[in-house]
């Protein structure tokens, strides 16, 4: 299903969508950063490079209640599962973040299904946006991704000048378009060309390139190399890289009481860069050094999830590099890994 959305119609679309769902899109915050927030039509930013923060927090919440408990007078305990059923439409999601959501969807499925995240995904419509312009840290093409990938989206949009080219990808997406058909216009024969044009110009503008796909299944060989120390020596273990990474899935679980008999069991994002993350009850710590923890972050993205799920869990969004207060660059690490791998193969 192919359509056109005239740019001046965007606000009426958002208004319409807001009637039965929360609409979330990139906006400029008062800190002068682009972030995904619930919007009113006017301020949406569907141009420029990807946002500083990813929309991950609308699928995997930074902190959320898992259930409430009540201890009865008899001593019996009852629990009430936290169950969000609000519909949300997330708009302007760049292809890298769509890949990240696809990854999360698979990761949180499997033998045990994470009800909270999968339910939220079921209640979400994901509207992607082709990337016309990379940020200075972007390296999606190095992972074999492209700035116009549609994987993971329900609807894909691309800026075509005076209008957006709109493509319904899933049934859910097509239904949304169908329900609002008077806002959209029919597309013209060669509208789809905008995607290949954007791909070409955006890919050309990407500064960082290193063929990570060629390193698939080989990154592990750098485990015992001495490249880690160079970075861990300056790393301050703040965890900013992991908290801003759209594919970091780790969390901590805790209980909190509101009164003697009531409270909730909740979780929050957690980071493998924290010393206490792996600390055993006995005091022993399998990743006690900053070096081991930095290596864990990299190995997990480029080797362990390849072993487990046959895919990298890095999208090449470059946010970890962008937010690192001491300037540790993922691309620089990958270049070092490549050198180790290449030397090993000689």
């Amino acid at each position: 299903m192919r359509k056109r959305l005239q740019k001046q119609k965007l606000s009426s679309l958002i208004k319409k969508l807001k009637e039965d769902a929360t609409v979330i899109a990139p906006v400029m915050t008062d800190k002068n950063e682009v972030d995904f927030l619930p919007v009113n039509s006017e301020e949406v930013i569907l141009s420029g490079a990807r946002s500083l923060y990813s929309p991950k927090k609308y699928i995997f919440k930074q902190s959320e209640s898992m259930y409430d408990y009540t201890i009865q007078d008899s001593g019996k305990v009852t629990v009430k599962e936290s169950c969000e059923n609000e519909k949300q439409i997330i708009m302007g999601i760049r292809p890298c973040d769509l890949h990240a959501i696809e990854y999360m969807k698979e990761f949180y499925s499997g033998k045990y299904k994470d009800s909270y995240i999968l339910r939220r995904l079921e209640n979400s419509v994901l509207i992607g946006l082709a990337c016309t312009e990379p940020s200075t840290n972007c390296f999606c093409t190095s992972l074999g991704n492209s700035p116009v990938d549609t994987d993971g989206s329900d609807i894909m949009m691309a800026d075509a000048g005076s209008f957006y080219f709109v493509k319904g990808i899933t049934e859910k997406g097509k239904k949304l378009i169908e329900n609002n058909k008077d806002i959209f216009e029919d597309s013209q024969e060669d509208d789809e060309r905008v995607l290949s044009d954007i791909k070409e110009s955006c890919e050309k503008a990407i500064l960082e390139k290193i063929d990570v796909t060629a390193l698939k299944n080989k990154v592990g060989s750098a485990y015992n190399s001495d490249i880690w120390k160079k970075y861990s020596d300056i790393c301050v273990n703040c965890g900013a890289c992991t908290f801003n990474c759209p594919t970091c899935t780790c969390f901590d679980v805790a209980d909190t009481s509101r009164s003697k008999n009531e409270g909730c069991h909740y979780r929050t994002w957690d980071t493998c860069q924290n010393f206490a993350f792996t600390l055993h009850a006995s005091g022993h710590n399998p990743r006690s050094t900053s070096e081991e923890r930095l290596r864990q972050r990299v190995m997990h993205k480029y080797q362990y999830t390849v072993d487990q799920m046959d895919q990298f869990s890095c999208t090449g969004c470059g946010r970890c590099t962008q937010v690192c207060p001491v300037g540790i660059s993922m691309i620089a690490i990958l270049k070092d890994i490549k050198e180790v791998v290449d030397n090993g193969e000689e």
């Binding site: 259930y67 019996k76 485990y223 069991h265 993350f277 022993h284």
Partner: protein, 295 residues
């Protein structure tokens, strides 16, 4: 219809515990207690493999992984042996009979017990490492005909920390079963073995393992060794087994990585490409050799 079919998968929320009543609490050593948890209606049947663990919750305090020491189907109850080592276990130690505790599980792979049939089983445990192995020992006695001999090699810090004292007395009296105990340092009133538990698998030690060192070679070849204890302890055991060229695919260990969710999502237990909570906690020595040393 379509919707109904899809719904249960997501709505079967694996993070929600059921609550079981504490029906009995028995002091074990001065820092450990046994807790019997009654399984509520709808949860009476537990498909359990020795070596698996449960997540226990004290509402308002927190959740922790605890290995199951025994499942007693006749009484519809679970036995957990718990050392008082942290905030949650401390709270559990203060609980009284009649109170309710949250339970979800069992999780993890457990010991590949089917593979042990027809073999001798040597159990090596340090401290509270014997707790999870109790389920193997109970399984052995319940299915005695399936197995050969059993030997329990146990090391405690001091006589007051010895667990399953009474059981060990009765295990010793059973056919084909031996138990050896050692405490870390000599102490007044203790006339048994002293030194670390790895001594018991040292070929030069006077009271070393019967099955490994004082039986026909064919017995040793038909043996599996199960080791549970902290890494410093099992590394010293593995060193001794290395010395006698004991095959690495006949040794199984339980890893104690920090866990939060038990179901492969929170990431805390991650060790290389494995999640200890799901792919473990039991690994063969052979597997362990291929893994990153992050346990």
């Amino acid at each position: 219809m379509e919707k109904n079919k899809k719904a249960p998968s997501i709505n079967q929320n694996p993070y929600i515990p059921f609550f079981g009543k504490l029906t009995d609490i028995i002091d074990e050593s001065h820092v450990t207690k046994r807790f019997f948890v009654e399984l509520p209606k709808g949860h009476e049947k537990v498909d359990f493999i020795p070596g698996q663990f449960f997540q226990l919750t004290v509402p308002g305090v927190g959740e922790i992984p605890i290995s199951l020491s025994d499942y007693i189907p006749e009484k519809k109850s679970l036995l957990f042996c718990i050392a008082n080592t942290g905030i949650v276990t401390n709270k559990i130690h203060q609980m009284k009979v009649g109170e309710f505790i949250g339970v979800r599980g069992p999780y993890g792979n457990g010991f590949p017990i089917e593979k042990f049939k027809g073999k001798n089983i040597v159990i090596v445990a340090g401290g509270i490492g014997l707790f999870p192995l109790r389920s193997v020992i109970e399984y052995y006695f319940r299915n005695k005909n399936d197995f050969n001999k059993l030997e329990v090699l146990y090391g405690a810090r001091n006589p007051r920390e010895i667990i399953f004292r009474e059981e060990m007395k009765s295990w010793r009296l059973k056919k084909d079963t031996t138990c050896k105990i050692t405490i870390d340092k000599p102490e007044k009133g203790w006339d048994g073995n002293t030194g670390f538990v790895c001594n018991l698998v040292d070929k030069n030690y006077s009271d070393s393992s019967e099955i490994l060192f004082h039986c026909a070679a064919s017995e040793r070849e038909n043996t599996v060794v199960l080791v549970v204890g902290p890494p410093v302890m099992f590394n010293s055991i593995l060193k001794k087994l290395e010395e006698i060229n004991f095959p690495d695919d006949s040794v199984y260990l339980s890893l104690e990585n920090h866990m939060k969710c038990g179901i492969g999502k929170c990431g805390h237990c991650n060790c290389g490409s494995k999640y200890v909570c799901q792919d473990g906690p039991i690994f063969s020595w052979k597997e362990l050799k291929t893994m990153e040393k992050e346990y």
